[in-house]
Amino acid sequence: MFKVSELYIEGFRGINQGLPLSLGDHVTLIVGPRGTGKTTVCQGIEYCLFGKIPLLSGPEFAREDGLASSYHRTGKVLLKMLLQDENGRILEIIREAERRKKTEFGSKKSKLSCKLMGTLIGEGEFSKLLGLSMEDYYVTSYLRQETLRDFINAKPEERGDYFSKLLGLEWHEALLTALDSAVKDVKQKTKIAEKRWSERSERRQRVLQLAEDLERDKEDILKDTGISTENLTIDYLVDLSRTIVEGVSNVAKTLNETFELELSERNLQEIYRFEEKARQETGRLRSIKETQILGLKDKRNKLNNLKLRYNELYPELGISSLEELGEAKSKLQADLETVEKDLETKRQQTNFIEKKRIAIEATTKTLEQIHSELHTIENQFGVKEIIEKRIKDLEKLINEKEIEREKYDAYDKLITDGLVYLEMSLSSLCPICVRPIDPLAIIENLKTKSQELKVKEITRLESEIKGARTGINEQKGLLSQITDWNRRAEELDHQLGRLRKEVETQLGKLTTEPILSFLTKEIENGEEVRESLEEKRTEVKDKLKEIEEVKKKFEELTTVEQQAQTMLSTKARGYDLINGLDEKIREIDGRNKEIAEIESDLSKIESSLKRFSRVIIFLTRESQIKKALGEIPSEEEVKELEGKYLKLVELEDTLADIFQATMNDRDAFLQRQLTKLETALGTYYAILKPHVHFDNLQIIHDAQGYWLKASSKTDPAYYTYVRPKFSTAQLNMVAISLFFSMAENVPHNFGFIVLDDPSQSLDNDGKKLLAKAIAQMSSKKQLLIATQDEIFANEIKAACIDPKVYEIKSWNQQRGPII
């Protein structure tokens, strides 16, 4: 394994004057501030080994030379590396280049010179000697932060190429790539071969089949058409064309049509054209025939319908004009008006009689009631004269009672005066018996008795007078009522008389019979007259209706007549017209028969055309198949193609089998390599301890690619796929673990590792742990570490055995780094 003992850089980027560096066996540390050329030293090694720096490429570098120093006096770039392996072999590598002129663009090719033990070797042998590809170099020998971060952040499927190389799968992959390409190619070729074989085979089969079919068709044509084998020629078609033209001519003549049809040349193309034209003409003439037949049928139907209707209407109506109908109608209308008028008069008269009858009936009824009442009173109280006598008697009684009363008044005055006298005399002795008496008591007693008697008698008399007066009033009331009813009866008699007179005046006749029975009879008579008038009215209306119908029929007759006259171009009427229609119908029937007869001509033409068509199709196919038979692939050719196809299928099968076997072997190999890598990965991950909980890191491979899975040793179920839960500093430590484990395991002959500023984003503990990991790695590989971090540099110095240290103090344009 080669390690680097000496390094020389001149005219490269910021290193102007020659910078010689002797590297330590294990660790070389370049410490210096930012921008003083540390990374340039790292890039110098990269450029010396591979002649290019991919990171320093792109559009800007195409315009400006970023590799050669701008201040070197000659513009030459010179890089030297002296390497030595454990067998003492010394390899000298010199890379030279020139500064690009300002007029030049793009990269300028460098010159490589290699000597093994002083002997020049070619570039291929140099590459083989180190066994280190550029990709290997970036992942196993040159730790750039961006490269590792990109790697960590890459998707699982994108890590495949890295891991394949790093895990030694490149031979498998190369084989798989070549096989995949070959399998695709052989599949494509197999498809083409199969297609060609099947195409040609099918074409051959198809043409042979067509030839067989043609023979069968030939037999069918001969059988179906009745023509002989020798007639399957163009000459036969030419003869047949004459028959067709003749038939078409006859049909066209019958239909009064012209036509164009002729076979001008004796070749298949012209025969096809003739056939098409003949079909068109036949079709056209058939269509014309059908149209004509339809036209005739239509016309015949019209004429026949006109004839039938005219024949029906003409004899039925028997009138020659509408005027006749008008007169009849006017007469009927006048009759109708008279009937209507009579009906109205009768209706009014009936109404009058009815009204009067009701009035008379009511009056008579009232009169009868009055007479009845009078009769009742007379029966009960007597007639008027009796009542008047009764009143006079009562008046006489009153008079007598009043006289009697006056008498009592006179007696009472007399007694009162006597008692006054007595009172005034006051004798204490009875005048009669002369016995002592009490005169006052006696007078008082007499007064009382006299008064009582007076009152009693006067009350009786007044009561009798009062009774007599009441009787007079009652009798007078009866008398008044009788007088009143008699007056009303008289009035009603007058009213009845007036009504009768009105009726007699209205009816214009006098009657001696009772008025009510007379009026009832009159009403009954009026009803009979009204019914008779209504019947007459219905009769007249029916007649008018009939006249309307006749009118309509007459108008229809006129229309039918005009149509028939127009169709026959005649002015004939009546039976002359009917005969004319009959004659025209017979004429149409004749023409129809004539046209129908050309159907057989058309059928013959169509039959000929069918034969014509079959023969021409046969002749065409025969010609094509004969030509195709001359062009089809031979049986040997088809067999050869089949053989090629089968060989390709076999090769495809073989390559697919080898491809699958290689895949299986690669997977088995991959598992072994992953197991190996996991040991180293576990070691460095344990030293760097990026995460407190996830203390175990594994590389997992599945169909989706490679996965970095961190888990807890004590609880394997607790895990993460690194990216989701790790910080940037933690991801860096994972990356360094991976880088170191890969550097240990990837097989190549370059025992040298470059670490450019590996402590970025690490805290002091992290730097210490990284220094420890570097010390571990330095027992296996030679390391060159560039850093600006003094703490980290001190940790390296403390952790590693005898590191070689270069301290860059500053940088200037003329020299570059000042060490």
């Binding site: 291929g124 590459s127 083989k128 490149e170 031979w171 498998h172 992959e173 190369a174 084989l175 790539t177 070549a178 096989l179 390409s181 070959a182 190619d185 052989v186 070729k189 083409i192 071969a193 060609r196 193609l641 090629k644 060989k647 390709l648 090769l651 099968d653 073989t654 390559l655 089998d657 080898i658 699958q660 076997a661 290689t662 299986n664 072997d665 088995a668 190999f669």
Partner: protein, 60 residues
């Protein structure tokens, strides 16, 4: 054949479904052994297999 390739060839051959296919596999590894690196090997194998296909196909 190189030692590394012999081992690889043996591993793949054991995994073939049809041992009659091992003849072409051997031819592939003979070509692979002549190459100085994997890229060259891949190219040589591709060329060899394409040549084999073309031999079968010939003029179609």
């Amino acid at each position: 054949m190189k030692e590394q390739h012999t081992s690889l060839c043996k591993g793949i051959m054991e995994k073939l479904k049809n041992q009659e296919h091992s003849q072409i596999l051997m031819e592939i590894f003979e070509v692979m052994s002549e190459a100085s690196d994997v890229n060259e090997a891949s190219t040589r194998i591709k060329d060899m297999l394409l040549k084999k296909i073309d031999q079968i196909v010939g003029e179609m």
